[in-house]
Amino acid sequence: MKTSIRIAKKEIKIALREKLVLTLSCIILVLLGISLYTGVIAYQQQQKTITNAQEEKREEWLGQGDKHPHIAAHFGTFIFKPKTVLSLFDFGLDTYTGTSVYLEAHYQHQFMFRPAQDHSSMIRFGELSSALVLQILMPLLIIFLAYASFTKEKERGTLRLLSSQGVTLTSIAWGKILAYFIILLVILVPFALGLLLLSYWLKTPDTVADLGIRIVLLGSTYMAYIFIFVVLSVLVSLKSSISRNALLTLLTCWILFTIIIPKTIANLGESLYPLPSMKIYKEAILKDKADGLDGKTPRAERMTKLEKELLTKHKVDSVQQLPFNYEGVRMQAGEEYGDKVYDVHWGRLLNIFNKQNKLGSYVSVVNPYIALRNISMGLSATDLNASIDFQKKVENYRRIFIKKMNDDMAENSEYGKFYEYSVGLDMWKSVEDFTYKTPSIYTTLKKYALELASLFCWTIALILFLNYITRKTKPTNG
């Protein structure tokens, strides 16, 4: 250990005197600073827009005046997706999943105002988030820092001198790893502190469940990822005869990990499990609502059946004699059937999303970048699962909201006197504002068990492999 520390000190001293390392470190630090700054600006702007719009829509809802509850159900309301404080760090899919949705009776509207729609194609390719810098650019810095860790020693002849002092290759390798890790920590610690201070300063609403644990886990997984790239770079350098070969091998790995494999898997996922177009998806829902899920029970038939059942149950001859407004019950029944149809089609869509996501999860076993990218989005609550969870909760809210309107109509109004009945402010106030909290950390971690296992196994496997290789390798035959 003492030897490794001594080697680490020497490596740091040399790195500080080499301008390339300093320059690259500064570039990464500046990029992290810019990404954090843009993250804060985007967060503040969106948060402000959301808060203003939400307040405006709530005022509109409360100030809509007296009207029939079903008309109010169509008047509807808007729900805005709150930004999580961790989206400062990892924008995830937030840019693509939309920020608001219009809620009304009978229809499940799609999310609107996707920030990516407003950006240029370059931005759509990937915004500069801190997560992106750490996931893609940090490995590049590590590669430039460590690709010559052993090859330079071999080329200079200092490796033989080191070994002749009775220093094992294992001690040398761990000394170098320790040094690179310390250099990277010097970059990361100010950034992490800045991030923490900003999140405190922004004092965001408590949207993210288990925020503390998420931050600790984010820190740990990023550390593991950086460690993996450091060890991998040192290993490749150890086994390469010259620096150029080590650099080429590592850059090839970087391109494979961060560009080729993720793009290939995304395309493969789309080809193997294609999503229906929005037009086909919406038409299928409308068709099933009209003809029934089995294709044989059209809406009119379903309504006749409902009417008969109610008349039999209440032992009356006409809907006018029912102890409630049949129109309200009919509308709610239609709503519930529509929900059932929506659930079936939405379930199918989710199934395809899950299959595509699972493919990415399986590939994360061989690609630590995909593993970290998925975990990072998950922990930041900016992934597809968080978006789906939000949509589910919004849909539940819509259903409760519409049911309240329909139930009121059924209980308090008379059949055939639609326009004569109206409700007012008390009713609108009884519809509570939508609040959202992300799934718990336990739920998130369960979704990313494979990715977490992948990072863990990569870390352990590389440690064992490095120790094995350094014991087997002679300083003269890297």
Binding site: R6, K13, R156, R160, L162, S164, G166, T476
Partner: protein
């Protein structure tokens, strides 16, 4: 102190070193002469355990170097043909670093003295090694051997490329260390230096030690004749 017992190294069909038997006593300077590819550096590398022998073994202080790689390296110091140090560190920083690896910690003044005693000019001590000549780097190597209080020196053509003055200074330092009981195995092309510095001389050819004698038993002219005879055969 240093022993080779049937020490052999083969690379496929090529035999780099063939059944070398050698014994070097404490305080002796054994110079290995031979053309390029004769097996001199292979011998040094085997004693350093940088390569595994195909047959036989090499021992230092009765310890097999393959079985006790760390223990044997604790008592030896190695200076290659072109001692390379870390160019971005000063001579003093390099010496401090390598001494520390061997568990020897010296103050700045002590390191300074060691470098001066090894012949390094004072104003170069705190300059980065990238400004050093080969001779100056070899002197840092000697300082390191002194600092580590090495009992064994393994030198692989250490004076090759040095100017006569630097080469002479290097020889003087070796003799000084010999007087302190340091055992040296030196591979060299330099017949004059071998005769002048060595207590024993061996001539290697195609991986075989073809001659072995005490340096005092031959004149420089005889040594030259003997060497050329083997090279021409």
């Amino acid at each position: 102190m240093l022993k080779a017992n049937g020490l052999t190294k083969k690379y496929g069909a090529f035999t780099a070193l063939n059944a070398l038997d050698l014994e070097i006593g404490e305080g002796d300077i054994f110079c290995l002469l031979g053309a390029n590819g004769a097996g001199k550096s292979t011998t040094i590398n085997l004693f350093l355990n940088f390569i595994e022998p195909t047959n036989g073994n090499a021992t230092i202080n009765d310890m097999d170097v393959s079985k006790h790689p760390l223990e044997t390296k604790q008592i030896l110091s190695y200076i290659p043909e072109n001692l390379m140090l870390y160019p971005n560190l000063t001579g003093l920083e390099n010496l401090d670093f390598f001494c520390g690896l061997g568990g020897k910690n010296y103050s700045k003044d002590e390191l300074d003295t060691l470098l001066q005693q090894s012949g390094l000019q004072t104003h170069f001590i705190n300059k980065r090694v990238q400004n050093y000549s080969k001779g100056m780097r070899q002197k840092v190597g000697i300082a390191l051997a002194r600092a580590r209080e090495a009992k064994v020196l393994l030198l692989d053509e250490p004076t090759s490329g040095l100017d006569p003055k630097a080469s002479n200074e290097f020889s003087e330092l070796l003799l000084e260390m010999k007087d302190k009981g340091v055992t040296t195995l030196m591979a060299t092309h330099d017949l004059f230096r071998a005769k002048d510095t060595g207590t024993h001389i061996g001539i290697m050819k195609e991986g075989v030690l073809v001659e072995k004698f005490e340096s005092k038993d031959v004149s420089f002219q005889d040594l030259e004749k003997l060497y050329l005879k083997h090279m021409h055969n």
